[in-house]
């Protein structure tokens, strides 16, 4: 018993006792109120904790799903975006988007289409090709071009023929950078950068300047031809291609293909068809499938 309790029981007057009873009742009330408040705070904290846990779980689940989706789609995208089969050996690192569909001269040209399209020959009967009956149809299956053809409507005008040619070329514009057997990153780094950025006008202007200070050589001709091809100037490109024709065996197949495209741009369709026929008929030519596709679309 505390002293005040002793005092109340011994000496206190009645009104003092009544006041003490009211104080004790009030204190008990405050104690209960304080307790209930404490419980309410605890309950609210528990509720918040549960909400955060659920939120965290949802986010983790979403992140997991996003990772799975990313993995799934990136895996699916990897196969069709592969360049033509001659581009890389399976063990080689993934090619950059700008890279040309180039073949290694020393490497045997591979005949297999991209992995997703491989089907055992015994299981899938291959119908004869209407244009080249001797070629298997699966040999024609190549990915869509990485880049689109030059905007002929912008450079040549609103003519229907220009628009139609652009649509046609878009389907087999297998023209990419860097060019085969040509590394200019050290010799002409600025040109190289512009070509990687696909700024052909800037690259061509630099090449023009270089040509005025240097003696014309095969590299400059090829680069200028390439720039002109990509800007839709077929006739001009042909002039430069002519300068380097039949010089370098390594880049000759690519040059042939580009020359064919330049002929189309220069409205020399019969010559282009003849050249594509030559390429298509050559079983070892790295651009044979591109040429076959072009022939199919052009006929």
């Amino acid at each position: 018993m505390e002293k005040y309790e002793q005092y109340l029981s011994d000496n206190a007057e009645d009104d003092e006792r009544l006041a003490a009873a009211q104080v004790l009742e009030g204190l008990a009330g405050l104690r209960l109120e304080s307790k209930l408040h404490e419980v309410a705070v605890e309950e609210a904290a528990q509720h918040r904790r549960t909400i955060w846990r659920r939120l965290l779980f949802t986010l983790a689940a979403l992140a997991f799903l996003a990772a799975v989706a990313y993995w799934f789609f990136s895996k699916n995208e990897a196969t069709p975006s592969m360049p033509p089969s001659e581009k890389q050996a399976p063990s080689a690192p993934a090619p950059r988007k700008e890279q040309a569909p180039e073949q290694d001269k020393l490497e045997k040209p591979r005949e297999k289409p991209p992995i997703a399209q491989i089907k055992p020959k015994e299981e899938v009967p291959v119908p004869p090709d209407p244009i080249f009956p001797t070629f298997a149809l699966q040999d024609e299956l190549i990915p869509e071009p990485l880049n689109s053809a030059p905007d002929l409507v912008a450079t040549r005008g609103q003519g229907e023929a220009n628009a139609a040619l652009k649509v046609l070329l878009d389907q087999f514009w297998y023209v990419t950078y860097p060019l085969q057997g040509l590394d200019i990153s050290v010799a002409f780094p600025s040109v190289d950068e512009n070509l990687k950025k696909r700024d052909f006008t800037a690259a061509y202007l630099e090449l023009e300047q270089l040509s005025s200070t240097q003696a014309a050589n095969d590299t400059l001709h090829y680069l200028r031809a390439y720039c002109l091809l990509e800007t839709g100037e077929g006739q001009e490109a042909l002039l430069h291609f002519a300068q380097i024709q039949n010089r370098q065996l390594a880049r000759e197949p690519q040059l042939q293909w580009y020359r064919g495209l330049a002929l189309l741009l220069a409205d020399k369709r019969p010559k282009a068809l003849a050249l594509f026929n030559v390429i298509a008929a050559n079983a070892g030519h790295p651009y044979r499938r591109q040429a076959r596709k072009a022939l199919k679309l052009l006929q």
Binding site: K3, A19, Q22, G29, A40, T50
Partner: protein
């Protein structure tokens, strides 16, 4: 821990094996025990609020006011466990409090003093206690430190003297000095209450 357990609020009733254990914990104002009976009674509180067409936000008020009455009855010994779940008794109290809240709403424009709670001694006692609590809060404010802290820590928050001394929450370094001071403060508090009662002719 299973993921479903981690994602759901912990059940405060889990630690009480039977109603007797729960009752004993309620007697000592155990937080989990209070949460347990409140969680069990909450669905009924929602139903009553709907049934009596009370403000949907008054669920917490109903639960709180009923819990106060319930805990006071446990404390003064007027509620004894007789095999039933303590939460059932809380629900019974809630029904009466809900009825009283309805009456209060109906007599909103009349003299509330004349009407409400006249027939319910528990609610009347609860209101009286609330008024006393409010007065004591005022008196404590008048007293100032250290009396406010000394009384609050023991009589309101329920800390044992040893804990108060150990934590150094007051200037008193022994339980004896703390008790002496608290006794003085209580006398002072009673005198303030006495004076207030005399002034108001109570």
């Amino acid at each position: 821990m299973r993921i479903t357990e981690w994602l759901t609020p912990s059940n405060p009733c889990r630690q009480f094996e039977n109603n007797e254990q729960l009752f004993q914990a309620l007697k000592s104002l155990n937080n989990s025990a209070i949460r347990c009976v409140q969680n069990k009674a909450r669905p009924s509180a929602k139903q009553l609020v709907e049934q009596y067409k009370l403000d949907p936000e008054s669920v917490d008020e109903l639960l709180n006011q009923s819990s106060l009455i319930f805990l006071r009855k446990i404390e003064d010994g007027s509620y004894q466990i007789q095999g039933h779940a303590p939460s059932s008794y809380l629900v019974e109290i809630m029904k009466r409090v809900a009825l009283s809240m309805t009456r209060k709403r109906q007599t909103n424009y009349e003299s509330i003093e004349d009407h409400h709670d006249l027939h319910d001694p528990d609610i009347e006692a609860s209101n009286r206690q609330r008024e006393s609590a409010e007065l004591v809060r005022q008196f404590l404010g008048q007293m100032g430190e250290p009396c406010t802290s000394v009384i609050r820590l023991h009589h309101i928050e329920g800390y044992p003297d040893e804990e108060v001394v150990r934590q150094g929450w007051t200037r008193y370094t022994t339980t004896d000095s703390l008790k002496i001071k608290r006794s003085d403060c209580m006398k002072k508090l009673i005198q303030i209450a006495r004076q207030w009662r005399n002034t108001n002719n109570i």
